[in-house]
């Protein structure tokens, strides 16, 4: 069965896109078939996987029930990884979709044919830095949430908010079964005392949910997008590549253990 994982955090710049691009490439490298959905109008995941931003290629009109999802899935530079790209018009979806009945279930309905088909092991959804309509649609459609947290002070302030949202989705029956697949600590910088402090604090609140793999700050991760490649293609043996391969292993283990 296809597992749908939303990668979300309303705090900006924490590594959502970097995690979707590189985790999907590492899952693909280990033989899993992955569909990436770029739900962020910034379209960073789209360009980071080697595709241009093109009008009419996103889920925008599917969310408005004006067309079907067929024909929107494209290949990426990463083996076993395909994508439904983003485009600027998606920003309009925040307001347009909010005015529709049952607006939380737009994405659910949009991708139902793809999920029924069962052609993918994983669907990873990159979310914008907000808790607006697009992110709420992703959390409603997802089986679980993968939450990137930057090893910085402000990261701690937003945690209670997203935990509260997951609770509300479960109780409000919009998504009664969503859980947190895991929390990945990103941009860990061993030279500061801030990073270990933040990791310790997050483990205090979320315990086992925190992956053992910690993603270090690694300049190769921020250089790779300018070449439109995941880091395992740009510099296969850097610390960033090793970390995301480890994370992919953990994600697969947690899915197998369900």
């Amino acid at each position: 069965a296809t597992r749908i994982i939303a990668v979300a955090n309303q705090k900006g710049g924490v590594g959502k896109t970097t995690t979707v691009i590189n985790l999907s490439a590492c899952l693909g490298e280990s033989g899993k078939r992955v569909l990436v959905i770029d739900l962020d109008p910034q379209a960073n995941t789209t360009s980071g996987l080697g595709l241009p931003r093109q009008t009419g290629t996103s889920l925008y009109r599917v969310l408005l029930r004006e067309r079907s999802v067929h024909g929107l899935i494209q290949d990426t530079v990463a083996p076993n990884v395909q994508i439904i790209p983003s485009e600027l018009d998606l920003a309009g979806a925040e307001i347009d979709v909010a005015r529709m009945d049952g607006y939380l279930h737009g994405l659910n309905m949009a991708i139902a044919p793809v999920v029924r088909n069962g052609g993918f092991d994983f669907i990873l959804i990159d979310c914008p830095p907000s808790l607006g309509v697009l992110t709420m649609n992703a959390l409603t459609a997802a089986h679980s949430l993968l939450l990137p947290i930057q090893c910085e002070y402000y990261a701690l302030e937003g945690l209670s908010v997203i935990a509260h949202i997951i609770q509300q989705l479960r109780e409000g029956r919009a998504n009664a079964t969503i859980d947190i697949q895991g929390i990945v600590m990103t941009m860990y910088d061993a030279r500061t005392r801030l990073s270990p402090d933040v990791v310790a604090e997050v483990k205090l609140h979320f315990g086992e949910k925190v992956y053992k793999t910690v993603i270090p700050r690694n300049i190769r991760l921020s250089e790779a997008p300018s070449f439109g490649k995941p880091v395992i293609q740009y510099d296969p043996h850097c610390t960033g590549s090793t970390a995301y391969r480890e994370l992919a292993k953990e994600v697969i283990e947690r899915e197998n253990a369900r």
Copy 2:
């Protein structure tokens, strides 16, 4: 007269909050009277200037025209700097305000009494990482935009979007006179070739608009918020403090030259 500057960029984690906190503290240090408005429901600027998040303290009900702005302005830990804090309810404003007539002018009307009073030299507005209703309200109320850009590849992709928005606001007469006060390059890391490349690219497109001051990556800037202080109080002589003092000088020069 009071100058209103919106600090905005839809890309997340580029240093909007860090710039509002530290620029306002440096302007205050040089004798300018500053009002900070935290328009981001994450309320990072509120905690970074030493205040707790408290229900009922934000502009939320003022934007809904249910109360006036009087009584919302509070002191911060920084001399000459006051704040209208943020709170979680502000997230509800995105949808509530969008449904009102003339929704772009909510902030304009909300702070008009404060602007008329003339008690501040600067009003700095921290925006959330999106181009939703709150950010559009800030860009409609502001005299100018201060645009922080991180020295990373993805920073370049979003530039054309925000430049286009400014153009639309001018032509649509929502704010016929807004301009870009300046572009500040943030988290410059001299050890990588990515940073100089990004700076060169931004200067190519925006020339003189780019401040001479470049904010370096400096761990003291990310440690200061955990103490609820601007960096000039946490570590007055670190490279982060020096850079934001320089930026404050340039902002004042540009205002005097108008």
